[in-house]
C-alpha cells in the first residue's frame, strides 16, 4: 500500500521546517534525566525513545498556575488579554493525544473556557507511535476518546509513515513535501487502535465502600498529589484571588488542585463531603474510570502510566479497576 514516508535522517529537516511555522516543543531529556516537553531549539532532537514525560501536555493548555482574571476598580474584571502564539507539539503519544481529547471535551464544551480555547486553537499536535511499558494501560480501557492529531508519525523501519488528520495537517504535509516520499510499506497497527472504541455509558453499580482496598489505598497514600498533577486528564483546579497592595487591583488565579487534598470537598465552617482519604480515593477512582458530569460513562484514564511511575508509595489502581469495571486485559 502506498503510504507517505519520512526517513529518520530527515527528522532534523522536518523540525527545521516546522520551526519556520511556529515554536516547536517535544519530549526532551534534561541533564537531571527527567523527560519534559520543552522547546526543540535548533540542534536538539526530541527523545522519541522516552515512554512518557513527567508532566503531560496539559501543562500547555492549563498552566499549573495562571491568572484567569484581572481586576481594577476602573475596568472591573477583565480576561487577560495576552496573545497566544502558535505552538507545535511534536512527539505526542496516543495516550497524551487522547488526554487532550478528554480535556477538550471538558473545556471546549457548551461554554468554552476562554483561556483554554485560545491556547488550544493555537496548538498543532503531531503524534508519534510508541511501545508501551509495564506501567502503561492504554490497552485496558475501551474508550470513546480519540487520539486526534494534526499529523501522526507511525514508526516503521528507517523512519515514519506519516499521515494527516486535519486540514492543518494537510498544510504541514505541503511544507514537508520535499522530504516526504511515497512508499509501499506495511504500516503496523499503531497504538491509536486502543482509543476510539465506543463504550456504553451504562450506569455501573455504585462502588462498594466496604471493599478493604479503599482503606489499604488510603493508608498507603502520602497525599502528595503527584498522581493527579501528572495525569493528562486530571484537571481539577482551585481558584484564588489576590488583592493588590494598592487596594484597587486584584488578580484571580487558578492552580492545579487534587481530589486527595484535605480541602477539596470542604465547605464553609470546615464541614467536608469527603472527610477521609478512603472516600477521596473512591472519588478519584470514580473520575478516572467512570467520568463526571457530561462525561460520565467515559473513563478519564488514558493509560499513560504516569500516576504509577510517580507515586512514591507505588500505588496502582489497575487491579481494582480491572475487577470493578470487569475489564479483561
Amino acid at each position: 500500500m502506498a503510504t507517505l514516508f519520512i526517513a529518520q535522517h530527515n527528522l532534523e529537516a522536518m523540525l527545521e521546517r516546522l520551526r519556520r511555522k511556529a515554536e516547536v516543543h517535544g519530549p526532551v531529556r534534561g541533564e537531571d534525566g527527567v523527560v519534559r516537553f520543552a522547546e526543540l531549539i535548533h540542534g536538539i532532537l526530541p527523545d522519541l525513545s522516552a515512554i512518557r514525560t513527567l508532566l503531560p501536555p496539559k501543562k500547555y493548555l492549563l498552566h499549573p498556575r495562571e491568572t484567569i482574571l484581572k481586576y481594577t476598580s476602573e475596568a472591573g474584571y477583565q480576561l487577560p488579554s495576552e496573545s497566544v502564539p502558535p505552538l507545535i507539539l511534536f512527539g505526542l503519544h496516543p495516550c497524551d493525544l487522547a488526554g487532550i481529547n478528554y480535556l477538550d471535551r471538558i473545556f471546549l464544551g457548551e461554554d468554552p473556557d476562554p483561556l483554554y480555547a485560545a491556547r488550544r486553537s493555537a496548538l498543532t499536535l503531531i503524534g508519534v507511535s510508541c511501545t508501551p511499558d509495564e506501567f502503561c494501560s492504554c490497552h485496558l480501557y475501551p474508550s470513546p476518546l480519540k487520539a486526534l492529531s494534526d499529523l501522526f508519525l507511525n514508526s516503521v523501519k528507517g523512519g515514519f509513515a506519516i499521515s494527516s488528520g486535519s486540514p492543518r495537517g494537510e498544510e504541514l504535509l505541503e511544507v514537508l513535501k520535499d522530504i516526504v516520499e511515497e512508499r509501499d510499506i506495511n504500516v503496523p497497527e499503531d497504538t491509536r487502535r486502543f482509543f476510539g472504541h465506543a463504550v456504553s455509558a451504562q450506569v455501573r453499580p455504585e462502588l462498594d465502600a466496604t471493599l478493604p482496598e479503599w482503606q489499604e489505598l488510603a493508608d498507603a497514600c502520602l497525599g502528595c498529589g503527584a498522581c493527579s498533577l501528572c495525569c493528562p486528564t486530571c484537571s481539577c483546579f482551585d481558584v484564588l484571588e489576590f488583592g493588590g497592595l494598592d487596594g484597587r487591583s486584584a488578580v484571580r488565579v487558578r492552580q492545579w488542585d487534587n481530589c486527595l487534598f484535605k480541602c477539596h470537598a470542604e465547605v464553609a465552617g470546615g464541614m467536608s463531603f469527603r472527610k477521609n482519604r478512603a472516600e477521596r480515593f473512591r472519588y478519584r477512582y470514580r473520575h478516572k474510570y467512570r467520568g463526571f458530569g457530561p462525561l460520565q460513562g467515559i473513563p478519564a484514564c488514558v493509560g499513560c502510566g504516569r500516576c504509577r511511575v510517580v507515586c512514591p508509595a507505588g500505588l496502582d489502581l489497575r487491579p481494582l479497576a480491572a475487577r470493578l469495571e470487569e475489564i479483561t486485559p
Binding site: D32, L54, G225, A226, C230, G247, K262, P312
Partner: protein, 247 residues
C-alpha cells in the same frame, strides 16, 4: 482602603521574618505609605505599644517571661494576631531539643553560672494566645507576606494551604529527589507554599514549613526506611523545625 496600624514584633528568633519585610525592596516604599508601622522596633523608634492595632505580626517563639507579657499585650491590643514564620507557628529551630532538660542544655552553654536561668523551653505562640492566622516558613516567602498585608488591608485573613511541598514540586516538573535520588526529602510531609524552593535547586526539602495537614507520617517513615534512613534520623530531621512530630 483604610491605612492599617500594625505592630511588628520579634520574640525568640533570628529576625528573619521581620527582615523579610525589609527585603521587599521593591514594595517597601509603597508599604510604608499604605500601612502605619507603629510598633516595629527593628526599624522604627521608639519601641512603645500605644493604642490599638489592626494586626500584630509576631515573629519567634516564646522563651522568656517578658516575651509572654509582650505577646499577651499585643493580643489585647490587636484585632488580628498573626504567627509569622515557623518559630512562631511551630517553635522552630530554637525548639530543636524540646523535651530534653532545658537546664542541662543551658549549662552546656553557660556552665554553672545562673545566666539565662529565667528562660524556658521555647513555645509556639498558639500555646499562649489565640492566633488568627499563621504564615509558616523559615523564613516564609515574600509573596506570602505581601499577600498577608494585602489581605489584612481588606479585612480578611489569608486562605490556608492544604497541600505539601511535593505538590508544588510536581507542578514545577522537578526531578523527584526522593524517588529518583533516594535522598531524605521531607517534601511529602511538609506544608507547601514555598513553591518547592529547595527541590527546585535539587536540594532536598528540609521541612522548614512544618507538617502539612493530614500528612501520612507512618507511610513516609516506611518509605524513608526503604531508602536507608532509620526512623530516628528522620524524626530528628523533622524536629529541626517542629518539635511536635511524634510517631
Amino acid at each position: 482602603m483604610r491605612r492599617l496600624r500594625l505592630a511588628i514584633a520579634g520574640l525568640t528568633a533570628c529576625s528573619g521574618c521581620q527582615l523579610l519585610l525589609l527585603n521587599c525592596e521593591d514594595e517597601l516604599p509603597e508599604l510604608l505609605e499604605q500601612f502605619e508601622f507603629h510598633f516595629f522596633p527593628l526599624a522604627c523608634s521608639p519601641a512603645l505599644l500605644e493604642g490599638e492595632y489592626d494586626a500584630a505580626l509576631v515573629e519567634g517563639c516564646i522563651s522568656m517571661p517578658h516575651e509572654k507579657e509582650l505577646l499577651l499585650e499585643l493580643r489585647r491590643r490587636s484585632v488580628y494576631l498573626i504567627a509569622l514564620g515557623t518559630c512562631a507557628v511551630w517553635g522552630g529551630v530554637a525548639a530543636l531539643r524540646n523535651g530534653e532538660s532545658r537546664e542541662l542544655l543551658r549549662q552546656q552553654v553557660y556552665g554553672q553560672s545562673p545566666v539565662a536561668s529565667e528562660t524556658f523551653e521555647p513555645l509556639p505562640l498558639q500555646s499562649v494566645v489565640h492566633v488568627d492566622a499563621v504564615v509558616a516558613g523559615c523564613p516564609p516567602e515574600k509573596e506570602e507576606l505581601l499577600r498577608l498585608l494585602a489581605d489584612l488591608a481588606r479585612g480578611v485573613l489569608p486562605v490556608d494551604i492544604d497541600y505539601s511541598v511535593c505538590a508544588e514540586c510536581r507542578m514545577k516538573e522537578n526531578l523527584c529527589l526522593l524517588t529518583e535520588r533516594d535522598t531524605l526529602c521531607l517534601g511529602p510531609l511538609t506544608l507547601g507554599g514555598c513553591g518547592a524552593r529547595c527541590p527546585n535547586m535539587s536540594v532536598p526539602c528540609e521541612g522548614c514549613r512544618g507538617p502539612v495537614p493530614e500528612c501520612n507520617l507512618h507511610k513516609a517513615l516506611e518509605i524513608y526506611e526503604q531508602k536507608g534512613f532509620d526512623r530516628t534520623t528522620v524524626l530528628a530531621r523533622l524536629r529541626r523545625f517542629c518539635p511536635g512530630w511524634k510517631l
